[in-house]
Amino acid sequence: MTLADTRSPLLRISSLTKRFGGFTALRNVSVDIRPGERFGLIGPNGSGKTTLINCISGAFRTEPGTILFGDEDITPLQPHVRTRRGIARSFQIPRPFRSMTVAENLMVALDFAAHEHVSVGERRDTMMSILEQMGLGSKANVPATQLSQVELRKMELARAMATHPKLLISDEAMAGLSGSEVDEVLDLLLSFASCNITIIMIEHIMQAVMRFSERVMCLDAGTIIAIGTPSEVMADQRVQEAYLGT
């Protein structure tokens, strides 16, 4: 670790292991994420990145291993409780609520994950301001199924942001987008980060990871093979091997 950090971590993952039958998807993973950090997560396909996300967000049960969020052990909590505690995520393949409009998609988050009791009017205002910020203001009443790929990605991030997260996990939010669209989404993530939201970004587009991250971790076959500043990780022998397959 390059920076000496005196503050306690926002997310502390300790010796996490995840098995599917006989297959070990994650092996003894431990990492601390600091509050406000921009954290990049890379690794070849099938290296366990999405599995790790699923463990953090609660879609998978983990055992053994613990996950601390703030001071709380969230390992036994269901996903929706974790969302209410402040962990939000997007999905690698977008999963919108298909029967709803963009606005309704966000309202689900505001209805169920809002921390205090706020009036419906205030929630609508919050929803619109998030949509405006994402550049989706004009799409509020459009059915989610009619969005373009980049709009869908943005809506997923908007929905995640509507839950008021402390930690946002973006799972390949830029996959399949054009160059200018990648920049757009990256700028959005950076603007979230500037609002003091901790972000874990999974991405295959190396340029984006390099530009975004303060720290990068590389997984291969379920284990951490490198962690450090982007340039340190890129220079790592094992990371290059994992990517080039030599």
């Binding site: 879609a59 269901q78 929706h80 999905f91 919108p96 298909r98 988050a109 169920f112 995640a160």
Partner: protein, 319 residues
Amino acid sequence: MTRNGIAFWTGAAVFLAAVFAMTQLVGNQYPFFAGYVILQFVALAVAWSILGGYAGYVNFGTSAFFGVGVYASVFLVNAFGAPLPVQILTGAAIGALMGFALGLLTLRMQGIFFSIATIALTIIIETTITNWRYVGGAAGIQIQRPAVTAPFDNYVQMLFFVQALLVVLAVAISRYIQNSWIGRGLQALRDDELAAECTGVPTLRLKLLACVISGALMCAVGAPSAMYLQYADPAGAFNLNYSVSTLAMSLIGGTAHWSGPIVGAILLGTTQQLLTVTISSEVNVLVLGVMLVLFVVGAPEGIIGLIRKLRGKGKEGEA
């Protein structure tokens, strides 16, 4: 109360008043016999769509809940001579418990697996009742109606009114759910359960709630049926026709709005009554099946969806 709310409750009051007036004024018994069955299907379809429509869990087990309601009454009458309200409330309580069990199943099974499991429950319960001598076994059992209470002068008229009350109760609950956070949560989990969880929706709790409410209503609707027919047998009470009718009525009416199942049930229920009288009950089921298939293939949003399309996309009706 909102304007819509006032309109709804006024409508409900007018409906009940009309039903009551009918029991006092109409002498011919046939309208009550036929009307009872139609109202019964309205209540079943509305109850079914709370789980099947809002939450998207296709329950083939309507007949299980209905049959258990029937046999709860049979048992209560046989053992204690319990009055009708007690039968209905007991039915609702047992239905709620069954619903809870069904809700737990959703933890492990979704889609077709859940649906098949509900058929399995139906057959298992039916077989158990068939082997239970006390309530008549496979041969069935006759039930004596008690004397009718004023202001009704005929038992079927009273049952007709009671069923109308159940309809209003079911519709009011369904409407409340649709317009509340419960409805939005159910809609979210129907679209995508994992995404809903990760957006803060307590999916299991909502599914359990939907199952309990839906189950309690279906059982409550079944309870008076023993008194209506004055007879119960397992093959009749657990007949899968209840399941397919309920499902068809809900889907044909449309499950996106609480009024859909009502429209579907009234339309198909009335058609069924006419067909049963004029042609045969087989043709009846055939019409139902063909309509169901035609609608799921050709008009997936049901009649409600067709109406919405006709009115154009501009107006977004909220109720």
